[in-house]
């Protein structure tokens, strides 16, 4: 409907516009002014109608006042502006043609009713909103309270049901609350706990920092600390705990309470102590064991400047005999008694005695004056062993050998010290036992190298550190190469190339000689075949391989040799085994049997180093040898000119004897042409030595043989 500007509708609209313009600035509506005017328009219409109604209706006036509140004109100023508008413009725009005086009175009454209605509505709304917001606040608080209650119930359950002890105290140390678990740990009732103070709980085993940490915490300088702490229970027992104490602060950050959480570690601690004891003590004697001893020794060796150590390494003399003759039980009883006596020798602080195993004991002294102390200690030990030990009614005399190592801390490792002591002890034992010896670096060094080589031998074979050099054997008659002696070498990673004299005795000692010897034989035989293939024209070349005494007695000797020859496809006559004269001294038939078998197969047997041992010439007959190798000592004198006539006679005699027994003679150590010539004249068959060639790689032999064949 388009209102006529001057029609009643148009006038009503103009009133609404004036009204909205007056009130809009003081409303809190989010509507725009034109929207707001649209909201006021129905109210203006009702005002207009109320103005012109036949009878005055105060309720309608009040309703219109209340409607103002509904359209968010809650500011009292909005009422004031509204009433001003009604007063000034309602009759003018909406009065129509009624009586002006009546309309004015009516407008005035309407204003009164509107004011009352506005006030009542605003009061209603204010009260309702106040109630709503209070209810919301209450509800929110209720939610919080409920959550708080639930959370308290939960945490009370945690507190009460926890397996770890929980306690709270104020900053003065007064205990405020503890849980069941804590009471159980302490073994006291809640009553007994009441009124107690944290600071009463000192214990002799408290770590030095225990109470410093406590003081820092309650002063607010530390948030928490953690340590192992012991407590005394009323029954006199000790409670060990893993204790964590935390500082609790209030909302402003001021220290308020201390909270202790503790875990009972008594059992675990005992178990640990026991395990530790078992791991560090010898079950038989109760003495500290090797592990414990090494810990202490390492500690002593790691001590600061000026600190020294002294160590006695004791091994009982002849203990094996006691064990073997009286049985292990008796041996054990003897060890227990020895352990007790040793224990009584080490009473000073810094001294200890341990059993390393078997009948080996060590005593350690530490400090600044161990040079003197260790001697005294050794003397005390020797003295302690003097009195016979009664075992099973027998009085046994026990003696021991002691190796002493003494020195400043920080120079050697525990293993080095112990090895030195061990070596020194063996020296004492080798000197007859029942004595002590002081470690000597030179003696140590020798033994250590020996020791080192011995332990390195097995891996050396696996790693292929051995190699073979060949020294030609030359026929003295025509100067041709007839074969070569295989000489094993060890290319040691630290010591370089080592000759057989350095390691063969060690290999003999450890039994490694058997696999090593087999390896040498295999290599040499394979080499022999290679030579035979390449130098057929040079005549059969023979390979000489040394057999050690240990190999001689090895039951597999014959079979191994046969296998190796067969595998290589080499005839037995290509091989000559050299056996030292000393190895065959006093050899019975059993020992000679394998050699005989080999000789029967065609393997040559040479008697090596002939003339150095007890040369039983009569014995030569029954040995299955076909070659004598004269020791170099015979040829040495022939280097000079003129040669010693006595030596010449001896060699001549030996050669003649050998030839008469159908043995060939080889000489070693030929270094000059004069020597070679002399030996040839004396009737020797073959020779080897630097004059011809030093031991070298197999290729060298090719060259020599080749020169020989072409020359």
């Amino acid at each position: 409907v388009i209102a006529e500007p001057d029609g009643p509708e148009g006038r009503l609209r103009r009133f609404a516009t004036i009204w909205s313009r007056a009130v809009f600035p003081v409303t809190t509506t989010s509507s725009t002014r034109p929207e707001f005017e649209e909201q006021l328009l129905p109210l203006a219409r009702r005002l207009s109608e109320a103005l012109r109604a036949r009878t005055f209706d105060a309720d309608e006036g009040r309703a219109l006042g209340a409607a103002l509140v509904t359209v968010h004109c809650t500011d009292p100023e909005a009422l004031s502006q509204t009433l001003d508008c009604v007063d000034a413009y309602l009759v003018l725009y909406c009065g129509g043609d009624g009586d002006q005086e009546d309309l004015r009175v009516r407008a005035s009454r309407l204003q009164h009713a509107m004011a009352a209605g506005f006030a009542a509505a605003l009061r209603e709304r204010t009260l309702a909103e106040q109630e709503a917001i209070s209810a919301a606040a209450l509800k929110a608080q209720g939610v919080v309270a409920q959550a708080l209650h639930a959370s308290e119930a939960r945490f009370r359950a945690v507190f009460e049901g926890a397996a770890i002890g929980i306690g709270m105290a104020d900053l003065e140390g007064n205990i405020l609350q503890v849980n069941e678990a804590l009471l159980r740990m302490f073994g006291i009732s809640e009553q007994m706990m009441r009124g107690r103070n944290v600071m009463e709980w000192t214990h002799p085993e408290d770590a030095p920092q225990t109470w410093t940490l406590y003081d820092e915490l309650v002063r607010g300088e530390r948030e928490h600390y953690h340590l192992e702490k012991a407590f005394s229970r009323p029954d006199g027992t000790v409670l060990w705990t893993n204790l964590t104490v935390s500082l609790l602060r209030d909302a402003d950050g001021n220290p308020q309470y201390q909270l202790a959480l503790m875990e009972d570690t008594t059992e675990r601690r005992l178990l640990n102590l026991r395990l530790r004891y078992e791991a560090t003590h010898d079950a038989l004697t109760g003495l500290p064991n090797r592990t414990f001893f090494f810990e202490r020794l390492e500690k002593a060796l790691g001590a600061g400047a000026g600190q020294r150590f002294g160590l006695c390494y004791l091994d009982l003399d002849g203990f094996k005999t006691i064990n073997d003759s009286l049985g292990h039980a008796a041996g054990d009883r003897l060890l227990v008694e020895v352990a007790d006596r040793l224990q009584s020798c080490t009473t000073a602080p810094g001294e200890m005695v341990a059993r390393l195993g078997g009948d080996e004991f060590v005593a350690l002294t530490t400090g600044t004056d161990t040079e003197r102390e260790v001697d005294e200690l050794a003397s005390r030990i020797m003295h302690a062993l003097l009195a016979p030990i009664s075992v099973d009614g027998r009085e046994l005399t026990v003696r021991g050998s002691i190796g002493i190592v003494e020195g400043p801390a920080g120079e050697r490792s525990a293993a080095e010290v112990l090895r030195s002591a061990d070596i020194t002890m063996y020296r004492a034992k080798a000197s007859g036992g029942n004595r002590f010896e002081l470690a000597d670096e030179e003696a140590d060094a020798r033994a250590i190298t020996r020791h080192g080589l011995t332990t390195a031998l097995p891996t050396a074979l696996e790693r292929g550190e051995f190699f073979i050099e060949y020294q030609p054997l030359v026929h003295l008659g025509d100067g041709s190469v007839r074969g070569a002696e295989a000489l094993v070498r060890w290319l040691h990673p630290q010591h370089g190339v080592l000759g057989p004299d350095r390691f063969i005795p060690l290999a003999e000692h450890t039994g490694l000689i058997v696999p090593l010897g087999r390896w040498v034989l295999e290599q040499s035989v394979r080499q022999a075949r290679a030579w035979r293939e390449r130098h057929e024209e040079a005549g059969p070349l023979r390979i000489n391989v040394n057999l050690s005494p240990c190999q001689l007695t090895h039951p597999g000797l014959v079979q191994d040799t046969v296998d190796i020859l067969e595998r290589a496809g080499v005839e037995p006559d290509a091989l000559c085994l050299e056996v030292t004269e000393s190895a065959l001294i006093g050899a019975d038939d059993d020992l000679l049997k394998p050699l005989r078998r080999l000789a029967e197969m065609g393997v040559d047997i040479a008697l090596d180093d002939f003339g150095t041992g007890y040369s039983n010439l009569a014995n030569l007959r029954r040995l299955p040898v076909s070659i004598l190798k004269l020791d170099r000592s015979f040829t040495q004198s022939m280097q000079q000119f003129p040669a010693d006539p006595v030596d010449l006679k001896i060699v001549e005699g030996i050669v003649s004897l050998a030839h008469s027994l159908d043995l060939a003679v080889t000489v070693e150590g030929v270094e000059t042409g004069a020597q070679a010539e002399q030996l040839r004249i004396l009737g020797c068959d073959t020779a080897q030595g630097w004059y011809y060639a030093r031991p070298g790689p197999p290729e060298r032999l090719h060259e020599l043989a080749l020169v020989d064949a072409t020359g």
């Binding site: 989010s30 509507s31 709503a132 917001i133 209810a135 929110a140 939610v143 959370s151």
Partner: protein, 273 residues
């Protein structure tokens, strides 16, 4: 764990609340004397604060209608405060019946009151959560039930970001919410600023101090800093502008009709690509 076992901190209604102060500015009585006292103190420095709030409400209303016109039927109003007249759900549901609205506030009293107001409205709900923890908002039961994040949502951050300090990473929070929204979603934002306030900043700073005193610091940001909240959004015309200038609905709109205070701060709407 659905909720932490700890009880929330107790509610202290002797401490003024920004929601209730806002209600007071808007002529409501959902407030206590402590709130009114703080509001009156703030108004000593900026007497036009109620007009700024009114302009906020008016902008919000226009923006919600705009969103409804764009076909958006889901609204997430973070920092909704005390529900007063002309709320998002009233505007949205009258423009688009059945529109879903979730209010979010961290003031437990405002939440409790909202729950009472919305008791009978199946399409609207309220979440007690904090803008600084967007995942809590997104994971809430109400959002899960009422909002389909695979469809566009109008995210309202009206007069809230100026209560989030930089160390709480408001940009990160806004970005996190943005990343959860489907393409075509809208960000409806207003923010306080010294720019546009018809007073020298030194004087307006008095108001900032009042909010600092009630432990709800008011962070005035520059227009550029406010614009950064729209990273990842395309600005809807007319961009980031004083509130009354954002799409006035009347063709005859005249800036002269507006209260000068209404031009304080900025408003804008962005759309996710």
């Amino acid at each position: 764990m659905e909720r932490p076992a700890w009880a929330p901190r107790s509610i202290d209604i002797s401490v003024p609340s920004v929601s209730r102060i806002y209600d007071f500015y808007l002529g409501g009585s959902h407030n206590f004397e402590v709130d009114r006292e703080a509001a009156r103190k703030a108004m000593e420095f900026m007497p036009g604060l109620p007009k700024i709030m009114q302009a906020n409400r008016a902008f919000m209303r226009r923006a919600v209608r705009f969103a409804a016109d764009q076909g958006i039927t889901q609204f997430l109003d973070v920092g909704s405060g005390i529900p007063t007249f002309g709320n998002v759900h009233e505007v949205a549901q009258s423009a688009s019946p059945g529109a879903r609205v979730v209010y979010v506030d961290h003031d437990p009293v405002a939440v409790a009151h909202s729950e009472a107001v919305l008791r009978d409205n199946a399409d609207a709900g309220v979440v007690a959560a904090d803008l600084r923890k967007p995942q809590e908002i997104l994971a809430s039961a109400e959002v899960q039930q009422l909002i389909d994040l695979n469809r566009p949502v109008a995210l309202l951050l009206v007069a809230i970001l100026h209560f989030v300090e930089d160390e709480d990473d408001p940009y990160g929070a806004v970005a996190e919410l943005r990343d959860a929204l489907a393409p075509g979603s809208l960000l409806v934002l207003t923010h306080a600023s010294y720019e546009g306030i018809p007073l020298p900043p030194e004087r307006a700073a008095g108001t900032v101090d009042v909010y600092k005193d009630i432990r709800n610091p008011l962070i005035m940001r520059s227009r550029d800093d406010i614009a950064r909240f729209f990273e990842g959004y395309d600005m809807v015309e007319p961009g980031l502008v004083p509130m009354p200038r954002w799409r006035p609905e009347s063709e005859t709109w005249d800036p002269q009709d507006e209260d000068p205070w209404a031009f304080s701060g900025f408003a804008g709407v962005g759309r996710t690509a």
